[in-house]
Each structure stands twice: as C-alpha cells, then as structure tokens.
Amino acid sequence: MATILSNAATAGARAAEAPRPRRGKRRMSGWHFVLAPVSLLFAIPFVQMFLASVSPAAELIAYPPPLVPSRIDFGGFIALFTTTDVVRWLANSVIVSLSAIVSHLVLCSLAGYGFARLKFRGRTTGIFLIIATIMIPTQLLMIPTYILFSRWGLVDGLGAAIVPWLASAFGIFLMRQFFLSLPPELEEAGRIDGGNRWQIFWHVILPLAKPALATLAIFTLLSSWNDLVWPLIAINNDEAFTVQLGLANFQSTRRTQWELLMAGNVVATLPLILFFLFAQKQFVATMTLTGMKG
C-alpha cells in the first residue's frame, strides 16, 4: 500500500499542474461536449445552494419553483444569525479544527520522524501496531470511546470533539513515509555541525517537510471540519455543537425554513470552498494520498 500511496501522491501533484491549456491552440476539442455538461451537473447543487440562500422564503417552496429568485433576500442569513447559535458553532468548529491541525502537525511529524529515522528499541513493533490500527473501523471504537469519555467527564463539552483529533495513525504513517524519502546525508551534515536530534529535526528536517505538512494540514482540516458522527454521539449540549452538528439538527427541526437551512449550508461550506480554490494543487495531492470521506 505504501508504494501505491506515494506513487499516487507524486503523480497527483503532477496531475494537478500538468494539463494546462496550451497557448495558441484554438482548435475546438470534442471533449468540451462531454466536459461542459458534466461540469454543469456537478456545479448545479452548489448554485442551487447559493441561490436558495438569498431567495425570499416563499419562493423556495413555491410550485413551480422559480429558477432564479425574483430578488435578493438576506432573510435566511438574518434568521440564521439572529435565531440560532451559529456563530458559537462556527467558533467551536474553528477551535476543534485548529487544535486538530496544530496537534497533528506537531505530534505526527515528531512521531513520523522518530519512526523513520531514529533507532530505538520497540520501534518496529510500535510502527507496526500503529499501521495496524488503520484497519480498525472507527465505528468499532465509538461505543467504548463514548463510555470512556463520559467517565472522564468529557462528554457534552468541546473536549469530546477535540481529543480524538489530536493525532492519527494516518498522519504518523504519512509523515514517516515522507521522512523515509529524504536522503540521510542531510542529517549527517547536521550532525557534523554539532547538532543534536532535536536541533537537526527542527532546523534541518522540518523546513524540508513543508509539502508533507501542508498535505497533513489539509487532510486534518477536511476531516475534522466535516466530521459529523462523533460530535453527534458525544455532544448533546448545543453550546458545544460544531457547525456540522448544528446543521444536521436544523434538518429535523427547521425543515420548512429552507432559506435558513441553505444560509447555514453556505456558512458551513464556504470556508472550505474558498480554501480549496486557494490551495487547489495541494488539495489534489492530499486527495490522492488519502481515502478520507468514507
């Protein structure tokens, strides 16, 4: 698996940059007739989401529904921000994702480096156990983790959402694969200059790991921001809701207020869409490397 993943990663990065429209090539390709309608189909749900979020409430449940709203109406957004705790949920999601990312970057790169490059007793067993846990479905862990967290008093607080995201087997594995690919001469040079393990790690190795760290950060952002099952189980107190959990709850309680639901959808999804557009190439590399979104 290791090889196909790392092959896919490099190839994915290449795929992201390779097919650029060649300058001066004006011949109409037949593939436009395939790609244009398909792209439109993929875009339609999002277009509907944005249109619906700025539509007057009555037009969303009118029959037949108008294709384009007769006027722009921010009622949905106003209702969202005045009648719900969405700001707090967003803040909670930001806290959960930020701590997940920071903790992942620090702990997984340390562990990945240790398992890749340092020699110590128990290393082989350690990395074997960690890779083996990737095969355990998270659903198997839900019940005992819930019981454990409720004993620790974490349930119903933000801590419950944060703790499982502090580090992951996948993150350790990813960083280890990256560090294994670096030439050992780098560390030798650092050692000759009199650096110890920490100094070499911080000053020599980590600056080289930026692409791998970016991949890990995106992976962690996507999976922690969009997580629904675990918050659903562990958090019943709406002050500690994440934005996804808040949205999912709207679904049952506010089903008639489509303009509000769609405004919530926009607010919860837009940060990641903007981020995607900004870091598209890195996203594609991350996608190739990870099988997230089960």
Binding site: Q48, L141, I143, T145, L261, F276, M287, T288, G291
Partner: protein, 316 residues
Amino acid sequence: MSTMTVRGRGGRADRPAASGRRRSRVARWREDLGGWLFVAPAAVIVLGLSIFPAGWAFLLSLQEWDGFSEPEFVGGDNYAELITDADFFSAVQHTGLYTAMFVPMSLFAGLFLAVALNRRIRFIGLYRTAIFVPFVASAAATGILSTYLFSPQFGLVNNVLRTIGLPAQGWLEDESQAMFVIALMSLWGQAAFTTVLYLAALQDVPGELLEAARLDGANRWQTFWRVVWPQLAPVTVFTAIWQTIGSIQLFDLVYTTTRGGPLDATKTIVYYLWEQAFRRLEFGYGSAVAYALFGLTLLITIGVVVYSRRRGTEAF
C-alpha cells in the same frame, strides 16, 4: 523497514563503538529514551484511542449492558442473536444495495472523468474545479442539498422531469428510490477522489506503450482497452477496496437525508449500530454489530487481495 540489529553498527552510528561497555549501555538507553520522546505522545494517543477501545468493544460484545446497571456477561449470545436478527439482515441488505450501486458508479465515473480531464484543452481548469469542489462539502451540507434538490414538491430534479414531460418521482420519500438518491449524491461528493486516483495512474502509463500501440495501427478504443486499461488494474483494485470499505460504513448521508427511512429502506449497518448503541443503549449488542462490520471489512479486503494476487495485479 530496517530491523533493530542495524543499531550501533555501520556508518550511521553516531557514537564511537570502542568507548567501553558501560558507557555504550548508557548511550543505548539514552538513545532509546530519545527515540521514544519523539514518538510517544502521538503513539500513546493513537494506540490508546484504538487498540484499547477495540479490545474493550470485544468485551462489551460479550455483555449485556445499558451503561447504567451492572453489566451482565452473556458470552456469545449477542452474536447468536445477531445471526437471527431480521432487522440486522435488512440493514446488511440496504448496505449491500448501496455498495452495489455506489462502487461501480464511482469507479466508472472516476475513470471516465479522468480520461476526459486528462487533456490539454481550454477551460480544463474550470472543468476540473467544478468536478473537484463538491469534495469539500460535508455530509450535513450534502444531505440538506439532497433533500432540497430531490424534494418531490419543489425540488429542481422533479421540476426538470416535469419540464421534459416525465412523471415526478418520490425520490427520498420513495422506499425504492431513496438509496439511489443517496448513492447519486455520494457520487457527487466523492467523484473527485476516484478521478484524481485515475488521473494520477493515467499519467503514469509509459508513453512508449502508447507510441507502440499507435505504430501497430491501434485506434483510440483499442489503445485504451488493450494498453491503458490493463495498466490501470492496480489502481482499480485499490480504489475498489477503498470505496467498498467506505460504502459499508455509510452513515452520515443517511442520517442527514432520510434518518433510515422511508420504512427503514435506507437503514444501513452503521445506522443500525448507532441506533442500537446510542438510542436504545444496547452497548453490548451494538458492539457485536460493530465486530460483525469489522469482520465483513476484513473478509472483503482479504478476498479482493487474494483474487488480485492470483490474477497478478498487485495493488498492495
């Protein structure tokens, strides 16, 4: 992965070897400690939140427990009950139906989109963005969108059907169509993933092979099916396993669209597990369901790996 015997020998040993046995023992101990300082924080979290709960889940699966009263040891009773549980089997069937729809669709869509996107034409960046952006949408957002688009009364999909003169459908409110809608919207959200894997694999197909096929007079179809497609076999096997494992764990999108309905038609294994454990507080029985899911995952993985090894297409 190098073995432990490498330590202390060879060119990369960071201490002189001939510095006395006691000092080297101390040095070795320090080296062990140094290594563990690097890996321990992450390792403790990952192993503590997986190996330990996984073992505990097995113990729970042998008990009857609601979380409050004394747990009662019942041995294999939960598993015995599971085998005869009609609700569990219909959940397995619903999950199987989804998997049977989603996995082939996502492989086909990924291959098709990758081939289409793998060219140097105008607007290719725009096309790629349109197809890739849904990947960042969460299950909650996708669920709400699905419910709106496929609403029998005011949804866009039925409106299009009416416009072209086809009868409106019940979609998520129709028990024979709900799972199809869920599979379709999963595909919307995840097509980017299989596309990117196939795109990467396509770019790895050696150019000489294509050149050779062209010289032998093969047309585009022949080149694709005889030359390119066999080269994609490992990625196809890998993606198929990955998507199958993901599919049998379907929960989020069901929760945010139908909550298992209508008439339990979209109740999947994980939905059933969640309901048993966190609605009915049957922690023991829920754990048995979880282990059944784990077993199913392992069987599928092993089965596909063995099959593909025999056929000589190794993905792992």
